[in-house]
């Protein structure tokens, strides 16, 4: 309620600068846009700022002589951030940082390879295609926590996985096996996502291009690397970017499948969760912010490096192809980045 007051009040207090412009239209635009901006402010901006503010405070850490927690929060500046990198918590942080990065790189690579393969299969016209498509997409439709429970069942000491390989591997114990179980479950669940987006990309490739390739005598591999891959690349990059942003925040799968406080699979989100569940919201917000920055940097680099690449290739491929298309393509990637970074941020703020 208080937030709406400045909206109506402000234009009147600052009239001189705006007089040169079409004032009526400008005011109307501001009025029309303000509800949207207000909503955005409430659901995106406010959580971010509130989380940033929270990360500079600590509360509830001291007891008075009667054994009661001293109320109120104290401003500690950047201490919460510095603590993340210091001593024992520092070791824990870098371990979680390594795990997060490891899962992101390994899972996304595997998912991309499998996802593209799935898309190629789904795009083919053959009998029973509907069933194949549906069954490939089933894992994506299952909520992560449920799929984690399913895989937990499979990876039990006396579960199917151990029966199949004929030895007893304790999957949820510390070590490479718990990492592997997370990679398997994550790949199983989200390769179809990449498959789905790539399939959409494949369907926009006109059949004539392939016919032309055939006429030119290109073999299947050449057709794939020279035609399919470049043309599907924009869609693929968006899919991969989504997956990277998602996997950097990975939480529920290791949490449910392997468990809390396991060094082998502890990720940055789990650290933030752990702090928050021990009612230390300041440090929790600091962890979430560090994760947010990490995600934002990775997303930025991804768009910067691979996005530029897309344009370079597009120019070589289609000399007359038009600037408009190129521009739009680049913007599409950026838009999705912004959207997902916003989602990440609000997710982080939600902690």
């Amino acid at each position: 309620m208080t937030a709406s007051a400045p909206v109506t009040e402000r234009p009147a207090s600052k009239p001189k600068k705006q007089q040169r412009f079409d004032e009526g239209t400008g005011r109307l635009a501001a009025v029309l846009l303000s509800p949207t901006l207000l909503v955005l402010g409430v659901v995106v901006l406010f959580p971010i700022i509130s989380a940033l503010r929270e990360s500079l405070f600590q509360s509830g850490q001291r007891l008075d002589e009667n054994g009661f927690i001293v109320k109120g929060s104290t401003f500690v500046g950047l201490d919460n951030y510095l603590d993340i990198f210091r001593g024992e918590t520092g070791d824990r942080f870098w371990n979680a940082f390594y795990n997060t990065t490891f899962f992101t790189v390994v899972c996304v690579v595997l998912e991309t390879v499998l996802g593209v393969a799935m898309a190629l299969i789904m795009a083919k016209a053959f009998k029973g295609r509907g069933i194949v498509r549906a069954s490939i997409l089933v894992p994506w439709a299952i909520p992560t926590v449920i799929s984690a429970l399913l895989w937990k069942w499979i990876f039990q000491a006396d579960g199917i996985a151990n029966t199949l390989i004929g030895t007893q591997v304790l999957w949820s114990t510390e070590g490479w096996q718990s990492k592997l179980s997370v990679v398997v479950a994550d790949t199983w669940k989200t390769a179809p996502f990449i498959g789905l987006l790539v399939l959409a990309g494949l369907q926009t490739i006109p059949a004539e291009v392939y016919e032309a390739a055939k006429v030119d005598g290109a073999n299947a591999w050449k057709t794939f690397t020279r035609i399919t891959l470049p043309l599907v690349k924009p869609a693929l990059l968006v899919a991969v970017l989504f997956r990277i942003l998602d996997t950097l925040r990975i939480f529920d799968l290791p949490f449910v499948l392997v468990g809390q406080h396991k060094n082998s699979v502890e990720t940055l989100s789990m650290l933030a969760y752990d702090e928050a569940s021990n009612v230390r919201f300041g440090p929790a917000a600091a962890y979430a912010t560090v994760l947010f920055i990490y995600v934002a940097v990775v997303a930025y680099l991804f768009v910067k490096i691979l996005g530029a690449d897309v344009i370079g290739e597009a120019r070589v491929k289609k000399p007359g192809g038009g600037n408009g298309k190129r521009w739009r393509k680049k913007n599409a990637v950026q838009d999705t980045t912004n959207a997902s970074v916003g989602a990440v941020a609000s997710g982080g703020g939600g902690f």
């Binding site: 007051a5 400045p6 635009a29 109320k71 109120g72 929060s73 114990t173 021990n278």
Partner: protein, 440 residues
């Protein structure tokens, strides 16, 4: 172009302005929250009217019946059940959120016994004068201890829980053993005798819960306490780096080393262990009373129905010491109608209600004399050993930062059981860690 620029500036301004306004309100409410909490808990337990009970998902299905009994006799002070998730952590989180918002949505909180210190220290729950709970002396003393923080009562135990030793009576009898083991050495000796039997092929001696979660804290505390050690002493100081605690931990470590405890037990929570016992893979198994009905099921789900019995946990030189489970009912500091809430808690803790509850749900009562009830003992043959278990039980460390303390204990115990850290070092490290977590 020009229009666009002014428009952009303007919208940016609106966005910033509104966010500042929001920020200001956020700060305001935050400051309110930090200063206002203290006074309310000192207030007397006054006010009558409708109340609520916040409790984890009622898997027994009987809780509403209990509430109906209250509502029938108190039409103007009805209690409404606010059902929280089944997961204990999620329950705790919702209760904390409720307290931080200073909401009166929850009047009576069904607290897990290990939350008492944290909730009391934060003044999220209100102290209950002991003379306002007339039946307090009738409840098992160990369970009442769980509801205290710094010698003040903050709740009333309504249910309890203790560890039991499930054992294969059929195999023990066959091996010529008449009595269940009282000590760990006896248990291992019994295992050796039973191992000679052809039926014991592929069986392991013993298992509890050793996955890295709350159950590991329970099992570690039981091992340490049963060997005469403590994790946190009577004055609330950590004292886990002792020969006694080491003896307790080594008992488990050696169990894994010599294969008495199967390797798979590293992944056991309650359910995994129960399944192993039901499939006839374990001779001895430490678990809670709820397993009894499931293992006794004759629908084919259990291979050990009719073949097992229960006893109190074994210890180093005599009976073991169980960790305590169960729930205490406490009054939220921010609740209205606290007088009604207190009456309701007394009602729920009464002998009549606790008896009605165990008859329907098999949840362990906190009312001492119910364990000696002949009819109930017939219905639940584990009541006698359970009484011994709970009567001799110790609460888990009663500390404000329980979440941190329990994860430190889990880390130390998990590494020691895995063999990655020697027991001495694990305990020394744990002691250091606990000293930083338990400051006064």
């Amino acid at each position: 172009m020009r229009f666009e620029r002014s428009h952009a500036r303007r919208t940016a301004f609106v966005a910033v302005a509104s966010s500042f306004a929001l920020l200001a309100t956020a700060c305001g409410s935050g400051d309110d929250g930090s200063s206002g909490g203290g006074g309310s808990s000192a207030a007397a337990l006054e006010g009558r009217g409708p109340i609520t009970l916040a409790s984890g998902k009622d898997t027994s299905g009987n809780l509403q019946n209990q509430l109906n009994a209250w509502n029938a006799s108190h039409p103007n002070e009805k209690v409404e059940l606010k059902e929280l998730p089944e997961d204990a952590n999620a329950q705790r989180q919702q209760m904390i959120q409720n307290a931080q918002a200073q909401s009166d949505a929850f009047s009576v909180l069904s607290m897990d016994v290990v939350w008492t210190s944290e909730f009391a220290a934060n003044q999220w729950v209100t102290p209950i004068p002991e003379d306002k709970v007339p039946d307090l002396g009738k409840l098992i003393p160990a369970t009442v201890e769980t509801a205290k923080y710094r010698d003040k009562l903050y709740g009333v135990p309504v249910t309890s829980d203790g560890g039991l030793l499930y054992y294969r009576k059929d195999l023990l009898t066959k091996a010529g053993i008449a009595e269940p083991p009282k000590t760990w050495d006896e248990m291992l000796a019994d295992c050796q005798k039973v191992a000679a039997l052809p039926e014991a092929k592929g069986m392991s001696c013993y298992a509890g819960q050793y996955e890295k979660y709350e159950g590991l804290t329970v099992n570690f505390a039981e091992a340490v306490n049963s060997a005469g050690g403590v994790i946190v002493d009577k004055d609330g100081k950590p004292n886990v780096n002792t020969p006694e605690a080491k003896a307790g931990l080594e008992e488990l470590v050696n169990g894994f080393k010599v294969g008495a405890i199967p390797k798979a037990a590293h992944t056991y929570k309650e359910e995994e262990g129960r399944r192993a016992f039901q499939e006839g893979k374990l001779l001895f198994h430490r678990n809670w009373p709820y397993v009894y009905a499931k293992a006794q099921a004759t629908d084919g789900s259990s291979k050990v129905a009719g073949k097992f019995a229960v006893a109190a946990l074994p210890g180093k030189t005599g009976p073991g010491v169980s960790s305590l489970g169960g729930h205490d009912y406490a009054i939220s500091s921010f609740a209205k109608n606290k007088a009604t809430a207190l009456d309701f808690i007394n009602f729920m803790a009464s002998e009549e209600r606790q008896k009605a509850n165990i008859e329907k749900t098999s949840q362990a009562p906190s009312w001492a004399s119910l364990y000696d009830d002949a009819t109930l003992n017939k219905q639940f043959p584990y009541l006698a050993p359970l009484k011994a278990s709970i009567g001799n039980a110790q609460p888990r460390p009663r500390v404000v930062k329980y979440g941190d303390v329990t994860s430190a204990i889990q880390s130390a115990a998990y590494d020691a059981l895995n063999g990655t850290v020697a027991p001495d070092k694990a305990l020394a490290d744990l002691q250091t860690k606990l000293q930083t977590l338990i400051t006064n």
